[in-house]
Symmetry: C2
Subunit: 200 residues, 2 copies
DNA sequence: CTTGCATGTCACTGTGCGGTGACATATGCT
DNA sequence: AGCATATGTCACCGCACAGTGACATGCAAG
């Protein structure tokens, strides 16, 4: 083929395929080269090494749901809702968007155990997005309420439950792999939010 | 020393030391043998191999806070509290107990990325304990309330935030490595619980 | 004292890993 | 056409890993 750009692309796609199919644990120079059907030496030539390839992959991929994904096409309508409903809606969308993204879940899991430049960058992007979204969600809320802590708790719960749900069913009596289980979770989160915003 | 039991013990302790000092990622036959100051072949002789040693370690260690740790010495007093306060207290203790247990956090992190016999067993123990505790916490609550989901959400949030706090500071604007950050989190959880139980 | 076994040491195999140097060949420019 | 270089192939290194076989030695029972 003699086409460097295409080869780079194949390597990056191979990283993605391996992550989705086998998980981050299976990732490595040899595995990626084989998956791409390419000699591994090209990883070093084109990306300067393993971490270079990972970085290229991380930059090219949109792991994180966009603000639009979460607020929808008519953010004004959503932002006009009372706080509890607004948060419920966004949280529900957040769950849906994340569960559609096996790559993102894999990355989230990776961040829990590994710490390196790649995860650090991805985390920085995430944090920025979170704060950005948070600024939108705060309109019209009682300033006395700690929205940062609220978002931290709820998103943390969602992250953990989605991650565990990839492998186990029963968690605190909830079936994390069934629609019904997640309905119980979302309903309880919704009630928590309603009660919380009502009480202030 | 010519003492098989002592050697077994040293190996198990070496596993523990490595987990605490270097994390699960650093665990391996060679590393453990070196840490124990013992030949690795003894791992195979005494434990039948690597997974045997891990299993022996897992069985011997008490990773999980006991019901007593969480309910305290006078469970009756705690169980006599109104639901919101009861849950607040237990949750707060749960955070404190877990943050004292680096091994347990390491295992929790491990479970997120790896799935094997060991993690499966540990998870089973955890789930059993959780349901047990849950049965105590449900007294006098509105039966309409989904306590399983509530416990899942809150414990998931705590797990995730504790795990992330080992490596990052900023999460949704909260400093996960400071007393102040955790006070914000606990206070928000407390308010959520109060509002939640009040509204039913 | 001698024999048998538990305990421990050492050297080794095979595998997969990340990484590199030397070579082959297609492509595009002059 | 001929050359330089970008592109790709291949064989290889050193390392760490899990696991094993053969040997040495202390101890306890006969």
């Amino acid at each position: 083929m003699r086409d460097a750009d295409a080869t780079k692309q194949r390597l990056i796609e191979a990283v993605d395929a391996l992550i989705v199919e086998q998980g981050i644990g299976a990732l490595g120079v040899n595995a990626v080269a084989q998956q791409a059907g390419v000699d591994k030496v090209l990883i070093y030539r084109y990306f300067g090494g393993w971490s270079g390839l990972l970085q290229a992959y991380a930059e090219g991929e949109a792991f994180w749901p966009s603000t639009q994904d979460l607020l929808g096409e008519c953010p004004k309508e959503i932002l006009a809702l009372p706080p509890a409903e607004r948060w419920q809606l966004v949280l529900s969308r957040y769950v849906r968007e994340l569960s559609k993204r096996p790559r993102t879940l894999e990355i989230l899991a990776w961040e829990v155990t590994a710490r390196n430049e790649i995860t650090a960058r991805l985390e920085a992007v995430r944090e920025k997005r979170a704060l950005e979204l948070l600024s939108h969600l705060g309109d019209g809320c009682d300033p006395d309420v700690d929205l940062g802590a609220l978002a931290a708790i709820l998103s943390a719960a969602v992250h953990y439950l989605l991650l565990r749900g990839r492998e186990i069913r029963g968690y605190s009596g909830i079936d994390l792999q069934s629609e019904a289980g997640w309905q119980r979770l979302e309903q309880t989160m919704a009630r928590l939010l309603t009660a919380y915003f009502q009480s202030n």
